[in-house]
C-alpha cells in the first residue's frame, strides 16, 4: 500500500484518467479559466479532449464548445465531478 514508485504512480494516473473518461470533469488551466465537460480522451502530455464543454471565468459561464482540445501544458488540474 505504501510502496510507491514511478510505474505505480503513472499507473494510478492512468487508472484515474480511465475512470474519468465519459464522465463530467472540471479542468482548470494555469490562466485561471475552468472548463467543465465530458472527458473524451487524455494523453501523456495531458492534452485533453472534452465534449459539451463550458468555459468559466471567475465562476461565470463565458462560452460553450461542442468539442474542444486543451493543450496539456496549460493544465493545472483535472477533477472528477459527480453527475449533476
Amino acid at each position: 500500500m505504501t510502496t510507491s514508485n514511478t510505474s505505480n504512480n503513472s499507473n494510478a494516473q492512468f487508472n484515474f484518467f480511465k475512470m474519468c473518461i465519459g464522465r463530467p470533469v472540471v479542468v482548470k488551466l494555469n490562466n485561471g479559466v475552468e472548463y467543465r465537460g465530458i472527458l473524451e480522451v487524455v494523453d501523456g502530455n495531458m492534452n485533453i479532449v472534452m465534449e459539451q464543454t463550458e468555459e468559466y471565468l471567475n465562476g461565470q459561464l463565458k462560452t460553450k464548445y461542442g468539442d474542444c482540445f486543451l493543450r496539456g501544458n496549460n493544465v493545472l488540474y483535472i477533477s472528477a465531478q459527480p453527475r449533476k
Binding site: 473518461i21 480522451v41 494523453d43 479532449v49 461542442g66 468539442d67 474542444c68
Partner: protein, 97 residues
C-alpha cells in the same frame, strides 16, 4: 460509452486530425483568438492556417473614471504559421456523429 468506429478519437490529437481542411477556432495566450482553415499540424500543435481572422482583446483603462474598456481588434491574415507553445484551446466546427 459510445465508440465511433470511423474517425474515432483514440488520442487527443485525433480530434485535430479530424479537423484538417476545416475551419477551426484557436484560443491563444495573451487573449488572442484565431479562426481559420487548418492545413497542417504537428505534435507540438504548430499549425498552418489559411484565411485567418485574428481577434485580439485589449483592455484599456479610462484614466478619469477608472472604467475598463474592452476593445476587440481584428485583422485578417492570408497564410499563418502558428507556434504550438502559444496554443491554449482548439475547437473544431461541430462534428456530425
Amino acid at each position: 460509452m459510445d465508440k465511433r468506429e470511423e474517425g474515432s478519437v483514440e488520442e487527443p490529437l485525433d480530434l485535430i486530425r479530424l479537423s484538417l481542411d476545416e475551419r477551426i477556432f484557436v484560443k491563444m495566450r495573451q487573449d488572442r483568438e484565431l479562426r481559420g482553415k487548418l492545413h497542417a499540424y504537428d505534435q507540438h500543435l504548430n499549425m498552418i492556417l489559411s484565411d485567418v481572422e485574428e481577434t485580439i482583446k485589449v483592455v484599456e483603462k479610462d484614466e478619469e473614471t477608472d472604467e475598463e474598456i474592452i476593445r476587440n481588434i481584428k485583422r485578417n491574415i492570408k497564410m499563418l504559421f502558428v507556434r504550438g507553445d502559444g496554443v491554449i484551446l482548439i475547437s473544431p466546427p461541430l462534428r456530425t456523429s
